[in-house]
Symmetry: C2
Subunit: 129 residues, 2 copies
């Protein structure tokens, strides 16, 4: 009676925090500052997903508040300073769990994709008017 029906983990639903996974995935490989992340994200999302700067910095801020990321300022010679983010161990764990959740639903994605091809791409056969 007292068991929680859902754990309250923020990553419970893969369709939530989608972009955060992309961010963490990049950060997993190397610490990166925000502006550079914009390009990386766009590249990895194959141009499908253009992040506005406001979105990104808001997300980074919140992720750091949540302890998934850490940042430090980095001096540059020729330009404004940068804030470089890196994944914390908590962030790595969150990424691992989140991706596991996505992987688990891969079939569901494929199923929807198949449905799409079946119903919306196949040319209607004669008499289908």
């Amino acid at each position: 009676m007292h068991r929680p029906k859902h754990c309250r983990c923020w990553h419970k639903y893969p369709e939530r925090g989608w972009i955060q996974f992309l961010i963490m995935r990049v950060l997993y490989e190397k610490p990166t500052h925000g502006y550079q992340l914009l390009e990386e994200i766009e590249k990895r999302s194959l141009g499908c997903h253009k992040l506005e700067t406001g979105s990104l910095y808001t997300l980074l801020r919140r992720m750091e508040d949540r302890g998934l990321l850490e940042s430090k300022w980095e001096k540059t010679e020729n330009g404004p300073d940068r804030r470089v983010y890196r994944l914390t161990s908590k962030g790595i764990e969150a990424l691992r769990m989140g991706l596991a959740s996505i992987v688990k639903r891969k079939k569901l994605f494929e199923d929807l994709a198949e449905f799409y091809h079946e119903k919306f791409e196949k040319p209607p056969k004669g008499g289908e008017k």
Copy 2:
């Protein structure tokens, strides 16, 4: 200068409205009432996603408000009446667009899945401490 940077379609992000796609996908095939949808959704999501009744009816209501669905009450012999929903043409179009968006990002999903297997599933080789 005056072009909108993003279209404001509600289905812009496939990771949003995820569950609504599942709902519409079921309704595409046949008109269904809410309670039955609960079972269908759970089945199709392979048990990964258990919808609470509150979530479903909230979604159905909002989708009807938006013109994606239509409903009519159905008398039953042995139980409370049911509200049967069906997809409108607007709903079909939304489903088509939403799934197209998902399909377009299939690579992205696969990429994340691959990353997961690579980084989080492969056993570390000797000396990897």
